[in-house]
Subunit: 219 residues, 2 copies
Amino acid sequence: MAETDLIRENIISAARERFRHYGYPKTTIAEVAGDCTMSAGNIYRFFKGKIDIAVEIAQRESLRSVEVVEAVMECPYRTSRQRLEEIVFADLRYTFHLLENRPKVLELAQIVVRERPQFQIESFRRERRAFQRILREGQASGEFTIDNLPQTTIAAQSATLKYRYAQLFTNQTLGELERELANVLTLIMRGLIHRKDGKLVPPTEIPGEIAEQQMPTDF
Amino acid sequence: MAETDLIRENIISAARERFRHYGYPKTTIAEVAGDCTMSAGNIYRFFKGKIDIAVEIAQRESLRSVEVVEAVMECPYRTSRQRLEEIVFADLRYTFHLLENRPKVLELAQIVVRERPQFQIESFRRERRAFQRILREGQASGEFTIDNLPQTTIAAQSATLKYRYAQLFTNQTLGELERELANVLTLIMRGLIHRKDGKLVPPTEIPGEIAEQQMPTDF
DNA sequence: TTTGTGAATAATTTATTGATTGTTCATAGT
DNA sequence: ACTATGAACAATCAATAAATTATTCACAAA
């Protein structure tokens, strides 16, 4: 029913506001219900539990990263190398700023991952598909030399693990991370690109901020 | 004074036993002092505080990894590729088993890193030196083509970050991690090795257990 | 002077309570 | 039947007190 969906949306947006302001633990179901002018018990006709509201919010947020990839893929007259480098750098910058400026987002993400490990697994899969798409494109155009596409995709994704939500692993600055990532990408590119003239594939350059990928207003 | 050193050793070994059995938080200074037949207060003439005992234990444990590298470096008639792959795989396996079988070790490591972030930084530096040594060797022998040694070292180390204390990042099995690491190393090797005949550098094979690197008996 | 003690104190941890919150469900209105 | 409520119950959290522990230090023995 459309009515049901509308109410669900209402609950989600009320919850999102409160999670953002007060954080997940400090937000009570009664408050969210109050915002929607309904009783606490009634929430449970629309969501199995409090955590499930958070999961749905996190999922939607996570899907936004697909849009970034889409944007990079749309952009024409670019090499596959440029595309791959751009999405990895965009990921580093986006997640870095997210954790830097929105502590409640990190908190929510950590809680969701802890309660629902499947969430993280699916996010990884989505990202992997984007990687694979770019690699396949580069393979088709002859830019990349790849003997085993799925395995190479896994390798490239694993090697750049550190640059998503980097603050969880290290307390380096964004500048340090960018320089380091450029080194990693240089190495990866030299493993993917095989020049006929035998010259060394040039190092990765740190790209400028792209399209100023703005933060969502509410989260 | 030699006497002072002996007492320090005594304290360290008593503390190590208790940390292993009961964990760091459940071990009291009074107990360690009792094991050494001295008063609690006297411990402070040898260590600045409880955490410093743990730091020294962790440092010594961490230095053991240097021995592994030494062993790999000693081993003759091996290519630099083999050496690099062996130490990374050895690291993966060693740290995986450590976290699997010795939960108290993980606990101690986490506490030490939290209280003394410098500890982690130094461990990383030590490991980086080992990487760089192997890469330089491969560069000198002509096996690797490296234009910027320090940067390439950082790249190789960062790309394999996930495979040290892997359980902190993922709940994959050791087998899955080994296959994944082989993919990452294949990609790295293709970035380091440049064949004149233009053929693809063959993929990394998962090495058999080396020398059955045994766990230390006490920790 | 060096080595050590044990009581005193400060810092943490643990136990306990009461209050708050998540969730269920019998019930009522539509 | 469908929608919603609010009381009931269980789980969790916050606050406090109690106990334990880390650390210091005045003092004593060597």
